[in-house]
């Protein structure tokens, strides 16, 4: 027995994404954002996308490329304060933005990956985000049903991947990446390093290979992955 090889060319993997698809993106700010996969998605040109990501990056990078190219119809997120274009598009109605409390966004994505329908919580019950949510009465009080958040595709940035799709992440670049890697029908991971099978110790794997469909090795890392100069 041996484990299957899932390495793949980037353009080939991204070409699977059709118009109208929902696409989850890893990253919290710069760390963990799959910039090269996003760039490939801009080149590929799929439109009418629903993007699911913690934030909208900053002006001129990442999600902003997709917004600028007019490929995004809807953004499910927790914070877009650092991207003026996203805020402006939300305000002028050209972008449909759904806000979630950050941990609720994480938990809804994880719920999809865990194969449950959703969860019940009272987080945000006192806020405008509670409007329209289904109430559930439980033995420990009233909560709101938060439905699992699935996607058609997840674009993941990993520090290291092996050929089977086991992934590990570096420092705070982990963030939403292991969660989205469980929650999409098709999971595409870009990795700064691709190592042979066994190159990641089994105890140190952050995302197990069974969740991952395609592994793409990154070329020399473009500058956008570097330290942000403010």
């Amino acid at each position: 027995m041996s484990l299957p090889d899932k390495t793949c060319a980037m353009a080939e993997a991204i070409a699977r994404i059709p118009d109208g698809a929902s696409v989850m993106l890893g990253g919290f700010g710069v760390p963990g954002t799959p910039f090269c996969l996003i760039e490939a998605l801009v080149e590929h040109g799929a439109r009418d996308l629903t993007i699911i990501k913690n934030d909208a990056n900053e002006a001129g990078i990442g999600v902003d490329w997709l917004l600028q190219a007019g490929q995004v119809r809807r953004l499910i997120t927790s914070h877009i304060g650092l991207n003026p274009r996203a805020v402006a598009m939300m305000n002028d109605g050209s972008l449909d933005v759904e806000f979630n409390a950050q941990g609720i966004l994480a938990e809804r994505i994880r719920a999809a990956g865990a194969g449950v329908m959703g969860f019940v919580t009272n987080i945000g019950m006192d806020t405008v985000l509670a409007e329209g949510k289904q109430r559930v009465e439980t033995a420990t009080g009233e909560g709101m049903f938060e439905p699992a958040l699935h996607a058609d595709f997840a674009l993941v940035h990993a520090d290291c991947a092996d050929h089977f799709g086991n992934l590990s992440f570096a420092a705070s670049a982990r963030n939403f990446n292991p969660l989205i890697a469980t929650a999409a029908r098709c999971v595409i991971a870009e990795a700064e390093r691709v190592v042979p099978l066994g190159g990641i110790a089994p105890d140190d794997v952050h995302t197990p290979g069974p969740f991952v469909d395609h592994v793409v090795e990154l070329p020399t890392l473009p500058e956008v992955y570097g330290v942000v100069q403010r």
Binding site: M1, P4, F164, D203, P210
Partner: protein, 218 residues
């Protein structure tokens, strides 16, 4: 079941494990399917106690005390294996990342219902991972003797025992035959060597469609 018949049944089930699959093999007969995979088979075995990339059982004296599969066997791991907690392990199961599970059965019904975890008043050790495997693997195969030790059919029209999951079984591998659960009921697909279709029909407690064509033999 003769050891020869068992061996052919196991080999037949192994033949349905296609390259690239992620598979969970239930405790008992299903685990023995491993031995019948071709050398170098590209397959990822999952164990619900938190392993992907399970390898063969280790010989005595070479066990790792921290490394068992869900059946308690001291297994090895393949290069590229991963360890994870029980929540993530069942995330793999419930979110549909298992292409196939092979399970044992007390009873399996013509509508795909499976009963394999409780015999009221006699045997109730708890469900373990069976319910989620049966309900969520993309494909569920059952490995079972065609009749029980008393000669009674294990493949029945309706299960009498409490279910593990309803309508979950796709294919049954027995010492006599391969049968598929279809929208039109059970269909005989293949025969074990030396077994006739009418033997299978007689040993089956449910209506079994026998196609008009010649059936492959395994």
């Amino acid at each position: 079941m003769s050891s020869n018949a068992r061996s052919r049944m196991l080999a037949r089930a192994a033949a349905d494990i296609a390259p690239g699959m992620c598979v969970n093999l239930g405790i008992g007969l299903p685990t023995q399917v491993v031995a019948h995979l071709p050398t170098g088979a590209q397959v990822c075995l999952h164990s619900e106690n938190g392993i992907s990339g399970v390898g063969p059982v280790r010989p005595a004296g070479q066990e790792d005390r921290n490394l068992i599969d869900a059946g308690g066997s001291y297994v090895s791991t393949l290069p590229g294996a991963a360890f994870f907690d029980s929540a993530l392990s069942f995330a793999i199961v419930r979110s549909g990342r298992l292409d196939l599970t092979l399970l044992g059965a007390f009873e399996v019904a013509a509508n795909g219902d499976l009963a394999n975890w409780i015999i009221p008043g006699r045997f109730s050790p708890g469900p373990g991972g069976a319910i989620e495997l049966a309900q969520r693997a993309r494909r569920v195969g059952v490995l079972t003797a065609h009749v029980d030790k008393a000669g009674n059919p294990k493949i029945v029209e309706r299960c009498t025992l409490p279910l593990t999951a309803a309508g979950c079984v796709n294919r049954i591998y027995s010492d006599m035959a391969v049968c598929d659960v279809t929208p039109d009921g059970l269909v005989l697909r293949e025969l074990a060597e030396g077994v006739r279709a009418e033997d299978v029909v007689a040993a089956t407690g449910a209506r079994l469609t026998v196609p008009d064509t010649e059936l492959p033999v395994f």
